[in-house]
């Protein structure tokens, strides 16, 4: 009798176990097209058989093992983060580069060149009112070019600020989804593969914005950390981010453009922890790249420094000259020159935006006479024209001409964009590579993987050696084709 009963128990257990296996298989079929879904395998555990001890043997359903490799998923997440950052960099830097055109017919470079030409023409006919008017017009155009570039940079800053706000909003929206899915996963007792797949998709989306690591807990929920340490989601809780613009306490100029900062849910500043992803790229653009040009609380920025120094230099040369000589008998004094440019002197980060030609200056007020001795009737316009190819440090900015300095700004913007574009291509390829590796690893048993890993290792070594040879040949090629570089 005991034999029949135990046999029935065994069969009931087996039926139960195989029913669960069929349920898992059904889930695999149902979710075959779900993004992020990983097929599940139902393990069957053999039970000990000892009739005397009442152990009837047979099989029961064991833990459902996800074939999805968490390690590979994390690698995909990391590449999503890299691509999110690189794509944002390309977008931001494309708008920046367009402001530093050195080849077109407009912009600071062209306006500088035209102003130098007008100085030169004035030097040839120092009393000619048309030549003097041309100087005022060219100076006005240069001021406008500085204003427009400053305005473009301010607009880029505003755009970045809006995008930061939106990105933080997107992160928080995804954290809301994650909280809901985690709650469902916990209610389903860690066995709902469909919810698991949805969580994976949300985490991948989150990775585009910020660097995250995710770990599945025994209760089925996912703990998601930013930069490996700042909690974003835990169990049925979410920890949303917040964003604000601020002026650092150390800022010497409180009227300077503010910086962006992102805070964790407890109010801690976590800006320095977000170094990658779309949010990381936006923070870098807003807090590091743009201030190089427009300044911040502690420096004026290269564009403002250039506008201010150029205006001061031109004004200094003009005010060192005379509009008219003193009378021969000395009863009528010489009339000194007046400044050409004005700008906001109260805020060094506003110089480029506020640069303008003095509203009171007239062509006849341009001082042409260098008092000397010896006095030179066109000495001032010649000195101004000399700024194009400076011979003294006083006429230079950072050891070079103003034209070259602006060219450097343009080159820097162009190089940043080129690097970002290359980085974006690499990141796209690396993401596809990580997705391929995830695909290859999914469902492969450990024995097979161990053997394959040895094969991989040999291939990597061979490829690395070949790449070393190629790099050396490349260097030789550069030496042949571009000797001296």
């Amino acid at each position: 009798m005991a034999g029949i009963t135990s046999s029935l128990y065994v069969q009931a257990g087996a039926i139960n176990a195989f029913e669960q296996a069929i349920a898992v298989t059904s889930a695999n079929v149902a979710n075959a097209n779900s993004p992020g879904y990983a097929s599940q395998t139902q393990t069957l555990l053999a039970m000990p058989e000892d009739i005397a001890q009442g152990l009837t043997g047979g099989v029961i359903a064991g833990e459902v093992v996800s074939s999805q490799n968490r390690y590979a998923q994390q690698a995909v997440s990391n590449q999503q983060t890299a691509l999110g950052g690189a794509t944002q960099d390309v977008n931001s830097l494309t708008s920046l580069q367009s402001l530093f055109n050195v080849t077109g017919t407009s912009g600071i470079s062209t306006a500088l060149s035209t102003l130098y030409q007008s100085f030169s023409a004035w030097g040839q006919t120092p009393d000619d009112q048309t030549a003097r008017q041309a100087v005022l017009t060219a100076a006005g155009n240069l001021a406008t070019a500085f204003n427009q570039t400053a305005s473009g940079l301010a607009s880029a800053a505003t755009t970045a600020q809006t995008q930061l706000q939106q990105a933080v909003g997107q992160v928080n929206a995804l954290l809301g989804q994650l909280q809901q899915l985690n709650t469902e996963a916990m209610a389903d007792g860690a066995n709902d593969a469909g919810v698991d797949a949805q969580i994976t998709t949300v985490v991948q989306n989150l990775s585009q914005y910020v660097p995250v690591t995710s770990t599945q807990q025994p209760n089925g929920s996912y703990t998601v950390l930013l930069a490996g340490q700042i909690p974003l989601a835990m169990g049925n809780q979410q920890f949303p981010l917040s964003f604000e613009m601020y002026q650092p306490a150390t800022a010497a100029n409180t009227d300077a453009p503010p910086l962006a900062q992102v805070m964790a849910s407890d109010g801690t500043d976590i800006t320095s922890d977000i170094t990658s992803g779309q949010l990381g790229a936006l923070l870098d653009f807003r807090n590091t790249v743009l201030p190089q040009y427009v300044g911040d609380g502690n420096h004026a920025g290269s564009l403002n420094t250039m506008a201010q120094q150029f205006a001061d230099t031109v004004n200094g040369i003009l005010t060192s000259g005379n509009i008219t000589d003193a009378s021969a008998d000395g009863t009528v004094p010489a009339v000194p020159g007046v400044p050409l440019f004005t700008y906001d002197t109260t805020n060094n980060t506003d110089a480029a935006a506020s640069l303008s030609v003095s509203s009171t200056i007239t062509p006849s007020q341009l001082a042409a006479i260098a008092p000397g001795p010896p006095e030179v009737s066109n000495g001032i316009p010649l000195a101004l024209a000399q700024l194009e190819n400076p011979e003294s440090a006083a006429d230079e900015i950072d050891g070079e001409s103003y034209t070259a300095a602006f060219g450097d700004m343009a080159t820097q913007a162009g190089n940043l964009l080129n690097q970002a574009t290359e980085e974006q291509q690499v990141a796209q390829s690396a993401l596809t590579q990580a997705q391929n590796l995830l695909q290859q690893q999914s469902g492969v048993d450990l024995n097979q993987q161990a053997a394959t890993l040895v094969e991989y290792q040999r291939s990597y070594e061979a490829n690395a050696e070949m790449l070393t040879v190629l790099n050396q040949l490349m260097q030789d090629t550069i030496n042949i084709l571009e000797p001296g570089t």
């Binding site: 290359e422 990580a434 590796l437 161990a450 991989y456 291939s459 490349m474 090629t477 571009e482």
Partner: protein, 119 residues
């Protein structure tokens, strides 16, 4: 006789780009293919040097040089990311199969290859 190096550099670049595509696939077969493509790229450069008739760079060669450099950088990055991936996975697998050493490092990978004898 001087010749423009642009064609030779372009041939090398095509091979490096082929290697990049293989590295993206990152299967053992694809890695073998990428090794071959990198070898052919090296050979294309070596041949150019050997003939000794590449003239100092013209505009075309300069552009190709820059493209080839970018392609080699891309191949290096893809090789590094794939290699780091498997090195990391090897450490994880080692820890899964052998645990950790007293110093907290993942245990050496156990040989899990199996032998099948028939007959």
């Amino acid at each position: 006789m001087w010749v423009d190096a642009a064609n030779g550099l372009a041939a090398a670049r095509v091979e490096v780009e082929r290697a990049c595509r293989s590295l993206v696939l990152a299967s053992p077969q694809a890695l073998t293919a990428s090794e071959g493509a990198l070898g052919r790229a090296a050979e294309a450069l070596r041949q150019g040097h050997a003939t000794g008739d590449w003239k100092p760079a013209g505009e075309g060669a300069r552009i190709e040089l820059s493209r080839l450099q970018a392609a080699i950088r891309r191949a290096g990055r893809l090789l590094a990311s794939a290699s780091q991936y498997h090195a990391g996975w090897l450490r994880t697998l080692s820890a899964m199969t052998g645990g950790y050493s007293p110093r907290g490092e993942a245990a050496p990978m156990q040989d899990m290859r199996r032998m099948s004898v028939e007959g």
